[in-house]
């Protein structure tokens, strides 16, 4: 398949065929990370700049390792604070980075829309590493990869996504991707954390977790952002974890072979208990491992690396 995209801004813009292609390719990239010498020359001479305007450890590290395993040069720039109302605007910052001729910019940004603006504006590839609560495409791809790895196919899988759907880019990207690949998604949250217009999404919605658990092939728990507590979307952690937390009892109600996922970082004791997080059903660390392979694939596709990955 010839890759037609300069950028990756959201899952919304990918076809099922393209998603399938990425997931297929990722397997060969995953193999590289298992080698003794975890490096191929594919992107030698290419420069990847990681612009992270929001706290991130996993995603940033994952992109950096992915780029390095493909022999690209990487530079990471993190900016403390997120408001550019004073000082340099993000588009100025992007132009300055562009003047140094990178081949790809990976951007994480606290507000929606900026990666797309940058992609329209800059000649280099732009990969969205999460923008506001718009999209987080590489996370959804690594989630889909992890599910496919476990179940062989995404078609017909029941995936429950539980928690703060309203403010979640991970949930959005996963709904777009999973449904495009033939999975059925059920979103579970109190009404205060369901996004406006959710009834128009290609997903079932439930305000109760227990009835959803037995039929789910995968239960994806979203992180509770503690700052939402102050905004009174729910009364307190005790009540939240009682109704929407994944605990031992709920894990036991899951069907055979069903898995537990979490995009991280976890709040143990809030949306997920220790025994759920560490249970045999958990594929949380597989997700992290697969993240590197997915990001290698996307860097490769976006930068048009040499066809030979050996």
């Amino acid at each position: 398949m010839k890759w037609a995209h300069k950028d990756l801004i959201g899952i919304q813009e990918l076809t099922a065929g393209e998603i399938g292609h990425i997931l297929d390719m990722a397997s060969s990239f995953k193999e590289i990370s298992k080698r003794d010498i975890k490096k191929v020359p594919t992107l030698r001479g290419k420069t990847v700049v990681l612009l992270f305007y929001e706290a991130s450890t996993r995603t940033r590290l994952s992109f950096e390792i992915a780029a390095k395993r493909l022999s690209a040069d990487t530079t990471a720039l993190s900016q403390a604070g997120s408001s550019f109302s004073k000082g340099e605007t993000i588009m100025d910052a992007a132009s300055n980075v562009m003047a140094m001729a990178p081949d790809c910019i990976v951007i994480r940004y606290p507000h929606a829309g900026i990666p797309r603006k940058m992609a329209e504006f800059l000649p280099c590839s732009v990969i969205n590493a999460g923008d506001g609560y718009h999209e987080h495409p590489t996370q959804a791809l690594l989630d889909m990869y992890s599910l496919k790895e476990r179940f062989g196919s995404l078609k017909g899988l029941n995936v429950a996504i539980v928690g703060d759907i309203m403010h979640s880019r991970v949930a959005r990207s996963n709904v777009y991707g999973l449904t495009r690949m033939g999975a059925r998604v059920t979103l579970v949250a109190p009404k205060t954390l369901l996004p406006p217009g959710v009834e128009t999404w290609n997903a079932r919605v439930s305000t109760e977790l227990d009835p959803v658990i037995p039929s789910a092939d995968a239960v994806m728990m979203l992180r509770v952002q503690m700052e939402r507590l102050n905004e009174r979307f729910f009364p307190d952690i005790r009540e939240y974890s009682t109704f929407y937390g994944l605990n031992r009892k709920r894990v036991e109600a899951m069907k055979d072979g069903a898995v537990i996922m979490h995009p991280g970082p976890m709040n143990r004791g809030v949306e997920i208990t220790h025994d759920a997080a560490d249970s045999a059903r958990s594929i949380i660390l597989d997700q992290v491992e697969n993240g590197v392979a997915i990001r290698m694939t996307l860097l490769y596709l976006s930068l048009g690396g040499a066809a030979n990955v050996d």
């Binding site: 993000i90 929606a112 829309g113 797309r116 718009h134 128009t200």
Partner: protein
């Protein structure tokens, strides 16, 4: 001055007839349907043109004093003149706020000395627009305000709003209300709905506006003080106004050209020139507003001209300020409504002339003999494209850039003096 051979629209009588107009000493001396006869040297040839009373825009932000880098009284008046607007009511959210007679006097004096069109200051309802203490409405009225409003903010407390209505009525000042429940709008930046969720942008629900529309209508009914709701944007808000009016509440309202012409879809590309309060709503809301225009529930069309500098609007959608400019495109936008939605032009014209004049209790909006000679010559068939270079406002933040309009202002006359000629 004679203006000969144009189609003279007089919204005060609802007539449109070809004829000549004589202007003398800043007033309309005579109107001669069919022509006054005889060739006159120096007469303005208006053949093929529409001759309209100058428009009255009852909602603009001139940013003066305090934010002159966005706009000032002079540049704003230039944009107004180019849009056929000969009088505009400027909102008090300046720095300092127009909540005392010194600021009012500054505006009145600067306008008298340098503005090309009439500037009608609107004073604050409450000091500093803070919603806690009444502003000096009486003294400001003596200094020249025509109305009061805390525009940009809603008076949060219903008790304060009630007092403000009653106090304003003491001085016969019209009250203009911007309806927004701060708690409900929260961090929202566009209309709340499936589109805001897809874009990952915070939503401003229609209810955020409607609850305050309902409150202010109820308070108006209770106190008997008329209230004018500005930039109404929702179907439900409109229903509330219609119902209230049926039961005798003295409530009037206006809508903006952008809410009548655009929808939230325009926000899809994260274009900050489509970010304003209230936000662009759904097609259903827009259709309701168009109906409201036709049925007369919407009394006026006002621009909410809100200039912001390029570097402010160049920020992320979440961080960029709310507001777009509109003075220069008011009349072309009316023409678009007339052509695309089969709205009667005379009826539209009333909503930017006699109706706002009546609500604000100011002169203008008519071409009857003896009236102020505030006149616009409009070429109804002229096609043009709005490009940035043509924008006379200091700020260029408009979603209409690049849009093709039919109908262009060719001359604007204020008190008998030509202040704009294309």
């Amino acid at each position: 001055m004679w203006i000969n051979g144009g189609t003279i629209f007089d919204p005060s009588s609802g007539t449109a007839r070809v004829g000549d107009i004589q202007v003398k000493d800043g007033l309309i001396e005579g109107v001669h349907p069919g022509g006054a006869g005889g060739a006159r040297a120096g007469a303005v040839d208006a053949k093929g043109l529409w001759v309209l009373p100058g428009l009255i825009d009852m909602h603009v932000h001139l940013r003066d004093p305090g934010f002159e880098y966005k706009e000032d009284i002079v540049s704003g008046s230039r944009a107004a003149a180019a849009g056929g607007v000969t009088a505009m009511a400027c909102m008090p959210n300046t720095d300092p706020v127009n909540d005392n007679p010194s600021v009012t006097r500054y505006i009145v004096q600067k306008a008298a000395e340098r503005a090309l069109v009439r500037v009608l200051p609107v004073g604050a309802l409450t000091k500093g627009l803070k919603g806690t203490e009444l502003a000096e409405m009486g003294l400001m009225k003596e200094a020249g305000i025509v109305a009061v409003s805390d525009d940009g903010k809603s008076v949060e407390s219903a008790a304060m709003m009630r007092r403000a209505l009653e106090y304003a009525a003491t001085f016969g000042l019209p009250v203009i209300t911007h309806c927004q429940d701060r708690g409900l709008s929260g961090e929202g930046v566009m209309n709340e709905g499936s589109l805001s969720s897809r874009l990952g942008l915070g939503g401003i629900p229609a209810a955020c506006e409607d609850v305050v529309v309902a409150r202010d209508v109820l308070l108006s009914g209770y106190t008997g003080v008329p209230v004018h709701i500005t930039h109404l944007s929702t179907k439900t808000g409109l229903d509330i106004v219609r119902q209230a009016r049926k039961s005798g509440v003295k409530v009037t309202c206006d809508a903006t050209p952008h809410h009548l012409l655009l929808t939230e879809e325009r926000t899809g590309g994260y274009d900050t020139d489509a970010k304003m309060y209230p936000p662009l709503r759904t097609e259903e809301d827009r259709r309701a507003l168009l109906k409201g225009l036709k049925s007369g529930v919407i009394d006026c069309i006002a621009t909410d001209h809100a200039p912001h500098a390029k570097d402010e609007k160049d920020l992320d959608f979440d961080l960029a300020p709310f507001g777009i400019i509109g003075l220069q495109t008011l009349l072309p936008a009316l023409m678009l409504l007339h052509r695309e939605h089969a709205l009667d032009f005379m009826d539209l014209l009333k909503k930017v002339t006699v109706n706002p004049a009546g609500i604000l209790k100011v002169e203008g909006g008519t071409l009857s003999p003896g009236a102020r000679a505030d006149i616009v010559l409009f070429d109804p068939g002229k096609e043009w494209v709005l490009n940035e270079g043509a924008v006379l406002s200091k700020s260029k933040n408009t979603p209409f850039l690049g849009m093709k309009f039919t109908g262009m202002v060719v001359r604007t006359i204020v008190a008998g003096r030509t202040v704009f000629a294309a």
